[in-house]
Each structure stands twice: as C-alpha cells, then as structure tokens.
Symmetry: C2
Subunit: 333 residues, 2 copies
DNA sequence: TATTCCAATACAAACGGTTTCATTGCAAGC
DNA sequence: GCTTGCAATGAAACCGTTTGTATTGGAATA
C-alpha cells in the first residue's frame, strides 16, 4: 500500500504538503495541490487511518452499549444513532451488554484506552455506578431510553409517567375498571415510572389500585405470555390488560387467545413502544408510540455535540409520545 | 493518563519490560513482573490501544455490513456474530448499508485504511462487484445469509432451494393446489432460489406453475400486506399463500383478515425465517426455521479463522433448516 | 578459574502520519 | 533599493507502543 512518502516523492513535495493537501487544501497553491492529488490518485493512496488516529488522538468512533441487540426497539434506536453517526463521520462500535455491568464497565474502558471517543448507553445503569471513582465528564457519555434522573450527563428519554398515565386514562375512559397490569422487570426505573403513571390515572378516576393485579416479568413476548397466564388464571373477571411493552402485550394476546378468549371482545389489551409488529397483530395493537429512531438520532446528536465541546454536560431531552389507537382495546359494553 | 514510560520509571525498568509484562509475562523474572504489575496498578495504567494497534497493525475489530440493522433477522445474526466476536476478543463495527453499493464499498475501504481487520457482509452483493479491481483474498471477507455462488471467499448460508421445496411440499401434501406466492424482491438471489424450490415441489406433485400467482415485493410486513392485497383481489380462489419471509407472511395475514377471511380456515399461510413473532401471531405461523444466531456465529468464526490464516479462503458452510409446523396452514377440506 | 551459555533486561528503531516552527521567495510599502 | 509581511513549503519532532538486537550478569561447564 502506498504511503504518504511515496506520494510526496512522486509529486516532488514534502510529506507535510501531502498531508495538508487532504486536511487543509486551501493552504496549498493551486498548482501543487493538483500535483499532489494526481500523484495520490495514481498511487491509489489511502492514508493509514490508524496512524492518523494515533497522532490526532481521536478515533471518530463511538461505542453503543445495547442491552440486547436482537430486540426490535433497541435495533431501531441503533438505526437512528447510525444515521446521525454517518452524517457526522463517526463509526459505530456496538456491544451487546446483556445488561451485564461487567461488560458495560469494559465498554467505558474503551474510551480510556482510546478505542472510542465516547459511549452511548441504552441500558439503565448509571455511569457513576459503573465507575464510581470516575467523576462525570471525564468520559463523553450519553444515556438514552432507559434513563434515571437526575443525571450529570446528557440523556434522551420519554416521559414514561405521563405516557403510561395517558394510556391508562384511555382505558378508564373506555369504561374499564378491572384492569390487570403486565409490568416489566420489577427493578427497572421505567417499570416504576410507568406503574406510577398507571396509578395516577386510576386515582383520577377514583379507582382503587390493587397490587394483586400487577404481574412483573421480562420485557419480552415469552415474559408477557407467562405473566398473562398467571394473572388471567387468578383473575377471570379482568376486562383489560395494561402492559408495559408491545412484546409483553403480544405475548399476553397469544395467551388470552389460547385460553379461549376472543379479543378485543372478551379482553382489551394495550401495549407500549409501538413496534412495527403491533400494527400487524391480530387484533392490531393499541399502544403508545415511543419515537425510537428519533431517540437514537437525538442521542447521537448529543454525543456529537459533546465531543465537539458544544454542550456543557447535562442536556436532558424529553421526547414526546403519542397514543396510537388501533383495535386491541375497545369500549366496555 | 499514565503511560508506559511512567510505569517503567516507577518500577525502575525500561518501557520494553513493561510492555512484555503484559504481552509475554513468562519472559520476565518473578520479581520484576511483580514490581511492574504493582506500579501499573498504582498508576492505573491502561495501555493506549491506539498506539498498540498502530504499531501492531491489527485493530482487532471487524466490520459488519448490515442491509438494515432494524430488521429482526439481521439483528439476530448480528447478535450471533457479537457473541463469537467477544469470545475471540474482537470489536464489532456496524454499518447500516441500506443495501447501497456505495456504502458497502466504503466499508471495504475501512480495511484498506486499517480501521477494520475484515468485513462480514450480510447483504447479497459480491465482493468482486464492489471492488472489481481487487482480487479476492486481499481483504478478509465473509458473506452470510444472502450469498451467491460460487464464491472465492468463505460463506455461511442455508439451502434456500431445498428449504422452500420442503415447505411447498408440506403445503401440497396438505392438499393445496391453488397456491399463491408472495415472493421477495425480484432481483434477489434468495428470492430466485426459493422460487425454484417452490416450483420443484409443484413439479413433484404434477401441479403446473402459474407465474400469474406470484407477486414480488420487499421483504417486509408492509410489502407482504400490499402484495397480498394485489394477489388476493385478483385471485379469490387461492387456498394457500407460500411467502418468502415471516414478515411478508404477517403482512399477508393482516390483509387477509382485513379482507374478512378467517385464518387458517379460509386461507393457509406459510412464512420463512422463524422470527420470534411468528410464534405469537394469530394464527401462529407455520414457517421454516433459519438458524439466524448460528449463522452469525459461524460467520464470525470463519472470519476469526480467516484472520488467523487458518482457512484458505473458500470455506462454504451450509446450515440446516427445519420446518416448524404451527397453525397458520392446515389441511384443505 | 576461564569460558560458554542463557535468562533477563535495556536500548533504540521503527510504525505513518500530523503539526510546529523555520525558511524561502516574492509582492507591497516606504 | 531596502525593509516588511505574507503565502507556500520543508524539516523535524512527536504521538505511545512493540520488538529486534545488544548487553549484562550469573550459572553451568570444562
């Protein structure tokens, strides 16, 4: 592979000039610029990115910590991150953390060893929990989707409380009073927030909250199916299920139908996230739209600004959600 | 950040010794090794990975070219790649190519500029089409899922022909004779192969093939829904739909139900891939299992071997598929 | 005891760019 | 005509490791 010296020789200039031809062409005379570019072209010269990066001390790549890369919601967020990353000339390193603190910590280390310029965390763990001795700010860090407040670094999230409240309100307005909750993992902040929103809506309608009607479980279809089975076999008189993710909802729908129920007549079910599949479900899922791609885009934009030193460190962004009404929930007759 | 010189000074040795303390501890005396390690620990020394990588000329990262990162099937494959990558100490760079040759070419360039050691292509384009002037072998390259034979580099795939043939045979054995085909993109090799398998099955059953019953479209739910609409409105007497992906099938099911059909009584539908959602669909999807994670694992294993120089260059791996019978297709009565 | 050998370590040269600082030459100003 | 200033370019240092080669000292051998 040709290197800078080869090009400089062929063009009859110094390596410095060749370097400048690419990084700051304006500095060169029209004539030499031409010569250098021609020589580079002829030799098919491509700067050794490693040498550049080593010298300049910026890798132009950011690491994304994803709890589960195969999860549709995360995949869409990553897709959004990607779009902005290429727009700003960043490479994307992706690590599937499986929600393991050890792997997340290793990710942070990648910026200490200069493999990445910054890290975007899609999981819920806080930076300070990962590296307690590390004052925030040392590592360019932004957290998206699953955030916990207050933070000392930029975050992007939705308002889980009010989104859940809105959905629960919708269900209540439809006349439902015996509503089961298919919650996510119990230790998750998002779970707590969404439950809080649910309870707040109940309160507005003067409906007492019954802890016995909430079932916790993983944010997955299998989890939803199981939770639904437990909940429905205990409580035959439920008229609606408020779930904390579309996957949970889809699992629950399967279970309900296997139990011989006809949806949405016998049971209303709502989701959360608005993944594509919800639209094609039977019955099509009523859910709350979480702007996944947008979350990714904003996260990467924040990271980009952070790396350019254009933001101070704690820019919190809350994106708006929307109820998407389809037919998995209907008025109680 | 402490660097090697700091550690060497504190330990009273040369930088070379510190370097060897990590890379080849056996070469050092018990005593100095201890001292060095202690000094490194005290200074919280982390080798500058950039400098290492620059010197050693291997980045220990591989680039994955994904046509669409938000697609569940690809996401699962990436997940498999990831697992083997971390096992072998590789980092993963991910690029969403949107099936754009320009982006794919840029990916290949990343190994020429030493950003990545090799590239795994999940899309269908051949290396030689991307860089015609580049003899195969110059760039460590493996292609997975969507492969075209014959190749001069390692590939991982399933036998699309026989998988499709098996599924079509199943449908025929169920008594179906008027079978519509919801195919994928027309220019794709996988599409052609699966169609070939379908036709082969028809032939075995002495059923004439009718080109008018195949509808091409994107490998997506929206695509499936549209294709199904076109096909079903033209042909009201179809008893089954052979589709080329689960997403297409799910879209088709939605359409069929919207058209007032009851599935699987009025119409049998089969998928392809076995994504998780198929299991939770209504009706649960009969499909052919494509071992996505495994494909990713094998692809990364091949890449790993390739980079170690342990394989010659054209190791073709064909993974086996399996019919998974659920209830979206039933015997014709 | 002198020689040889080997293990342990140090020295210094890479690796391939970028960037600072110095130099050159020419145009403008006096 | 001489000085000044600026644009264009070159020389060389530098980035932080790794690694080939040289050196050292002590143990083993003769």
């Amino acid at each position: 592979m040709a290197q800078i010296r080869d090009v400089s020789k062929r063009a009859g200039v110094s390596p410095a000039t060749v370097s400048r031809a690419f990084s700051d062409p304006g500095k060169l005379s029209k004539d030499t610029l031409q010569r250098v570019l021609k020589a580079a072209e002829e030799l098919n010269y491509k700067p050794n990115s490693l040498a550049q990066v080593f010298r300049v001390k910026r890798t132009n790549s950011v690491l994304v910590l994803v709890p589960d890369v195969a999860n549709v919601l995360f995949a869409r967020i990553v897709s959004g991150i990607e779009r902005i990353a290429v727009e700003n000339n960043y490479y994307l390193l992706v690590s599937d953390t499986k929600d393991d603190p050890e792997i997340e910590r290793a990710g942070l280390e990648m910026v200490e060893t200069h493999r990445a310029d910054g890290v975007i965390q899609l999981g819920e763990r806080r930076l300070t929990d990962l590296a307690p001795d590390l004052e925030a700010g040392r590592i360019p860090f932004v957290q998206a989707v699953e955030t916990v407040h207050p933070m000392h670094y930029p975050t992007v999230q939705i308002n889980n409380f009010s989104a859940a409240e809105a959905m629960a309100t919708y269900l209540l307005a439809l006349g439902h009073r015996k509503i089961g909750v298919l919650a996510g993992l119990k230790d998750r902040h998002v779970t707590a927030e969404r439950l809080r929103g649910f309870r707040s809506a109940l309160k507005s309608f003067d409906v007492p909250f019954n802890e016995g009607l909430v079932e916790y479980g993983p944010y997955s279809m299998a989890g939803g199916a199981q939770s639904a089975l437990r909940l429905l076999s205990r409580n035959r008189d439920l008229t609606a299920l408020f779930t904390m993710s579309d996957e949970i909802a889809i699992g629950a729908i399967r279970t309900a139908q296997d139990l011989g129920m006809s949806l949405p007549d016998d049971l209303s079910v709502t989701g959360f996230d608005n993944i594509d599949f919800g639209k094609y479900c039977t019955p099509p899922l009523t859910t709350v739209m979480q702007p996944a791609e947008r979350i990714g885009e904003v996260a990467m934009t924040l990271m980009s600004n952070l790396l350019r030193g254009e933001i101070t460190g704690d820019a919190q962004q809350t994106l708006s959600t929307e109820l998407v009404i389809r037919s998995s929930a209907r008025r109680l007759t």
